[in-house]
Symmetry: C2
Amino acid sequence: MRAEVITIGDELLIGQVVDTNSAWIAERLNEIGIELYQITSVHDDAAHIKDALDEAFSRVNIVLTTGGLGPTKDDITKHVLCAYFDTHLIEDSHVRAHVYDLYKERPDVLNRLTATQWEVPACATILENRVGSAPLMVFHKGDQILVSMPGVPYEMKIGMEEQILPYILELKIKNEKLKIIHKTLQVTGVPESKLAIELEDFENAMPSDLHLAYLPKDGIIRLRLSSYGALSEQEMNRWFEKLKVLVSNYLIADTDEPLEVLVGKILTERHQTIATAESCTGGKLASLLNKHAGSSAFYWGSIISYDNSVKEHVLGVPAEMIKMHGVVSEEVVRCMAESVRKTLNTNYSIATSGIAGPSGGSETKPVGTVWIAWATPKGTYAECFHLGKLREQVTDRACQKALVGLLRILKEE
Amino acid sequence: MRAEVITIGDELLIGQVVDTNSAWIAERLNEIGIELYQITSVHDDAAHIKDALDEAFSRVNIVLTTGGLGPTKDDITKHVLCAYFDTHLIEDSHVRAHVYDLYKERPDVLNRLTATQWEVPACATILENRVGSAPLMVFHKGDQILVSMPGVPYEMKIGMEEQILPYILELKIKNEKLKIIHKTLQVTGVPESKLAIELEDFENAMPSDLHLAYLPKDGIIRLRLSSYGALSEQEMNRWFEKLKVLVSNYLIADTDEPLEVLVGKILTERHQTIATAESCTGGKLASLLNKHAGSSAFYWGSIISYDNSVKEHVLGVPAEMIKMHGVVSEEVVRCMAESVRKTLNTNYSIATSGIAGPSGGSETKPVGTVWIAWATPKGTYAECFHLGKLREQVTDRACQKALVGLLRILKEE
C-alpha cells in the first residue's frame, strides 16, 4: 500500500509557514509499513485541490490531506471534499457535543462560525479530534481512501496517533504484510565523498531492494539503509552490522536518535547530571538538552553569558583573562565550563564561546571560530572548531560538536 | 509568471528530514512578484522525478528543484536532468577550479567522487555555488526554465540570493510587471471564530483580488491580506489600515516580523538590555532573543534554572518560598525575574516557571500551567497561563506569551 500527503494552505506556498506535518506523517506511515510516495502542497483553491486529489488517486491507495478545516472563510477543504465525493453537509450531534465540551470554559468561542464545525459530509466516517473543533474525516472511493485532517500540527498528530493510524492499519492488515525497514548509523569526521568511496564495494554488493542514503547535516552524516519489503529483519541486521564495522572509525551512534537523546539516556541511567555555560550558542544547547520529556533527571541548568559582564560577574571569568586571550579562547571556555560545573554542582558541563557572525570576526578568529570545553570528573577538555560563515549554521553545528564530544567522553568513561 | 518547487530526496518521504527549503524559496519568489503554485516532494527515482517535471511544466513557467546533487550514489538528479533534456555531461573547468579552491585546506575531500561535481550537462547554464561543490544549473525548454539547486539549505539559499533570483528577475522583467503584495497583522487574545465574525463585513466588502487569511499559532493569530496583481500599493495600504482599526483591541504588531525581532528593535533603539531566568522554557526564550544578528546590543544573558537547586543557589529563591508556594507560583517567578535583572544588571528581565509535561501536573496545577513575570524599571508584573497539554506546545506558547507581554510593556513605557 502506498500513500500521498496533500497539504492545503496558501500560507505554505507564500512561505509563511513551513510544512512540518508531512515529515511527521511520513515517519508514522513508514512505521506501519506504508510507503509515502509523494508530498504535494496546494493553494486554498477548489480546482487546485481537486486536480491534486485526482493525480494522487491515480498513483496511490491512501491520500491524506491536512489543512483548510478552520471555521473562517479562507478554509474551504470540507466544501471541496463534499463536491469531490458528491455529498452534502449534515449536522453531527457527537461533534456538536464535543465542541461544546471543548469550549465549556470559553463561551466566547461558541458562535455561528464555530457551529459550522459540526456540519460534516454525509458520506464520510467521522473520527473525533480530541484537542480541536474540526473532526477528522475518512472518505471511501472504491478500494481507495481519503483522510482529511486539521493543519494545526498537534491536532493532526493526536488525531493520527489515536484515530487514523489504527484505522489505516486495520485496512492494511486485510491487504498485505509488507515490511518497510529503515536503519540509520550516525558518523562524523569524514567527508561524504571519502566515505562513499570507502563504501563502494559494500554498495555494489547490496541486493537491489536495499538502498543506502547519505544525509549530511551540521557536521554529522546519517547513513540510512532502507528496505521496502524484500528483506527480512535478520537479513537487514546482517547488512547493517557489516556497514557498522566498515564505518567504525567515524561512528557516533547506531540509531537515528538525536544526540541529545543518546546523551540523556546515558546520564539518566548513571544518575549523573549536566549543566551548560553558553555564549555563542545562546541557550540552544540548553534547549536541546531539555527538549525531551524526562530531561529533569539529568539536566540541571545553564548560565547564558552572552555579554562579557555575565562571564565576569556570574561565571567568574577574570577580566584580565578575557583581556589577554579574548572571549573566544581556550582559557575562557575552560574557565566557563569549570565554573558552571562547580556553581550548579553537576557531574559534567559544556561551555561554548565563538563568533556566530555576521560581524565580530577578525583575521585570526574569523566568523565561525568556536571554542568548546567539556568539564568532567576526570578533567577538562577543550577544542577549537571552524564551523562556517552563517550565523544559524555556526550555532547549530556548535551544538552538535558539543554533543558529539560529550557522547565520546561518556562512552569512554 | 508562476513557479513550482520540486524537492527531491527519499529522506523527505520517510520523514527523516523536514523540507524547510520550499517555504524559504516561496517567500523569495513572492518578493519578486512570482507566485509559487505548488510544492512537490518526490523520491530519488528517475521515473518519479520525470513525471513530476512533466506535470509541473504543464502548469507553470519556472520549475525549481532542490536536492540529489551530492557526489554519492543515491544522488541522481543530474543524470535524470541530462536524460530529460537529452544532453550529456561535459567537464567544466570553472567548477573544477572552484572545487579545488573550496577544498584547498582539506585535500582528503578531493577524490574521484568529488571530481564528478565538475561534470555538468552540456546544454545547461552553469552558475557558481560559492559555498559548496555542486553547481547551480539552469535549463531552458522553450519559454520555460528549470533551475536545479543543491538541497543543503545554506547552499541553496546563497545560490538563490546571489545567482538564481537575479537571473529569474531579468527574465520576468522582459515578460510582465505584476506585483504580489502580502501585508500581515498580528493579534492575540481573541478566538479565531469570534474575530472572523467581527471581520465579516470587511471581508464581504473586499475586492475579488484581495484575500484575507487567518494563521493561528502559539496563541497568536497572523492576519494576512494578499493581492496577486490587481491592487496598487496605495489601495492595499488603504485596506490594510481599515483592517488595523477593526482589530485594534487585539493588535500586537502590524508586520509579519517575529516578536523577538520587534522587541529587539525597540530595546536596541533605546539602548536598553534584557535577561531571562527560565525554568520550563529551558533556554528557548534566550535562543529566540539572541537568534538574530545584532542581538548582543540588547540581550545580556540568562540563568536557566531547570533544577530547584539552581533556583535557590544561583537565583537566590528562598527554599521556604518554594516549599510554601511551589516552584510554579507567582511568588517564585517574581523572585526569579527580579533576581536575574539585578544579577545581570539589565533594564528588563523575563522569568518563566511552569509544568511542560508530560508528567509533573496536579489537580490544582495541571500540565500547561505556566507563570511568567516581567521585571522592569517601574515594577514587576506576573501572569498565569494555561497553555495546553503537549510539552513542545506549552514551551513554544510560553515564549510567545513572554514576548507579547514584554512588547506591551515596552510600548506603554
